[in-house]
Amino acid sequence: MTREIAVVAFAQTDHRRTSEELSEVEMLMPVLHEVLDRTGLKTSDIGFTCSGSSDYLAGRAFSFTLALDGVGAWPPISESHVEMDGAWALYEAWTKLLTGDTDTALVYSYGKSSPGSVRDVLTRQLDPYYVAPLWPDSVALAALQARALIDEGYTDEPALAAVAARSRTDARTNSHAQLRGSVPHGEYVVQPLRIGDCPPVGDGAAAVILAAGDRARELCERPAWIRGIDHRIEAHSLGVRELTDSPSTRLAAEKAGAFERPVDTAELHAPFTSQEVVLRKALRLGDDVLVNPSGGALAANPIMAAGLIRIGEAAARIHRGESDRALAHATSGPCLQQNLVAVLEGEPRHAQ
């Protein structure tokens, strides 16, 4: 029998265009303190710590080891790091808890995009033989996908603009979001994508605490139980993939049990408006599902943290009793190359 594991606490920074007055650990530390405070746990109570970040973003070598200063890693803690979005760090922590070695895990991630040019930085994750030497930036690759969607009739530019407007309108109630309310859709960045179709570039951090079984019930009034979580990846070569679909998302969702029962809420990690179109299709989300009530990555996209934030936002809605069954999605790589899906549930609420 597998263990029941839940998200019991979530915290995030206010995401901002720049945080140049703060080092990475200075940006991260308040979030770590906040998430621990929510459970009353101390670092020494945590069984496993896992983080996600990329040194390329800020051009700061071994920044993840310096970030550990914010945890208080003495006496030596059980710790791991992934050079990926924190959602994948959460996946590792979930597997660690499944082993029964420990009952609690701290997961955090952060990204400081402001020191560099994130469009160029992300070219360095591409195939180094055939693609990276051309320096195709992240907006260009997303625009190729958007054009394919438009040409095949799945969307059009006004529909994409509506995704942007809805996201930033919803972000009005999210005090952490970087872009909130009415935001002009702007000029083309790489046609057909306009400024408004692209995520804001910014800095931020997030943290989550996972706990197993009764420990979760002690730490949280209404734990967000992870009913399933899975991640899948597609070929790296863009020309091999069907860009208007996301078979990896669909398969991850299937393995996570997302299609067994409808969800009421979905937090999708779609940095570009066009990618929400792909994800809605792959996940078969109907109009009755509340998509990205937080505003999603179009409202705040701290790279390496934005995926973990989707899980945190979905869990927080369950904690607050605003959702009973939510889907959280995280992505990595160009044009939704790799995708993670988690299904979270709260225990049934009894009549008052």
Partner: protein, 323 residues
């Protein structure tokens, strides 16, 4: 107290030398010779650009075929503001092109007068670079092509692929990929304060509110307690060599004669040793416990090195916890 945060340009730049597998070697050498090769999968598809392993089955694939330098745009995006390193420095379209004879598409640039001149399904051909070395950039870009691939008028090319042994004279076996990223580096609050104080010839650490340790240089957090440090504490200038090494290899672009001594120095009042070079004493006379002080050069923003103070050596018991 607010002080202006320090910032400085930081360029991270290095050439990656990468070796090529047999399929990549044949493809990139082929580009040098204006020949485009694809690779056949077990289920009969032709992949261009070719890969060493089947993206579906992971089987090793080695059967090469020659495809046409002409093809069809499968999707595109108009880039009105080219960025450094991109194939063209005038506005162009990013395109995925399925070359005639291929089943998959290649990413590259299309030279076109404007977005109105580009559409999915348009016919294009390779414009070869004048100088070719065996790299994806041997394709300068694509350009509009009005011809039909095989002249049958169906517009899809219909190119018949021919087997190819992938052998050329002087095969390219590796590429050197230049990578450069530009940053505006900021060290954050704690280190900004430290660096600013250094310029005033003061060494200022920060004390942990929990364990009371003084960290020099401060990084804004106590790594033991995981809490922020804020209380500033001036330390030194005197300090004790806790341990050291003798450097015998001259570093490139470093104007210091070898051998020299690099030491861990526990400044008076600090709970963590920092490191610095020891000067003003023959390298073979440096020892644990040696008392030293920082030496600033004229206009220097940080100590150039540390030199002996002439005090008696510190007792081992006074610094053993700082080793």
């Amino acid at each position: 107290m607010t002080t202006e945060v320090l910032k400085a340009p930081l360029v991270v730049e290095f050439p990656f030398t990468r070796s090529l597998g047999p399929v990549q070697s044949a493809f990139l050498t082929g580009l040098r010779e204006q020949v485009v090769l694809g690779v056949r999968t077990a289920d009969g598809r032709t992949l261009v650009p070719p890969v060493e392993y089947d993206p579906v089955t992971a089987d090793e694939i080695r059967d090469l075929v020659e495809v046409a330098p002409t093809g069809t745009v499968t999707t595109w995006a108009w880039n009105h503001a080219p960025r450094r390193g991109q194939p063209l420095d005038t506005p162009f379209a990013w395109v995925l092109v399925r070359l005639d004879g291929a089943d998959t598409a290649l990413l590259h640039a299309l030279d076109a007068p404007g977005p109105d001149a580009v559409h999915t399904g348009m016919r294009v051909r390779i414009r070869w670079a004048a100088e070719r070395s065996g790299a994806i950039t041997d394709i300068a870009c694509f350009e509009r092509y009005d011809g039909d691939g095989d002249g049958d008028g169906d517009g899809d090319g219909g190119h018949e692929v021919a087997d190819h042994d992938g052998q050329f004279e002087s095969m390219v076996t590796g590429i050197v990929a230049q990578a450069r990223l530009d940053y505006s580096y900021s060290p954050g609050r704690a280190q900004t304060a430290y660096i600013n104080a250094l310029a005033e010839r003061r060494i200022v650490g920060e004390r942990c509110p929990s364990c009371r340790k003084v960290y020099v240089p401060p990084r804004g957090a106590c790594p033991t307690c995981g809490v922020g440090t804020a209380e500033q504490v001036q330390v030194g200038p005197g300090g004790t060599v806790t341990t050291y090494c003798i450097v015998n290899i001259k570093a490139r672009n470093l104007d210091i004669e070898v051998p020299y001594v690099y030491a861990h120095i526990a400044l008076d009042g600090a709970d963590l040793a920092l490191h610095g070079r020891i000067g003003g004493i023959p390298y073979d006379q440096v020892r644990m416990g040696l008392r030293v002080e920082p030496v600033w050069t004229e206009g220097g923003r940080y100590p150039d090195h540390y030199r002996p103070t002439g005090e008696p050596d510190a007792d081992y018991e006074t610094y053993k916890e700082l080793l």
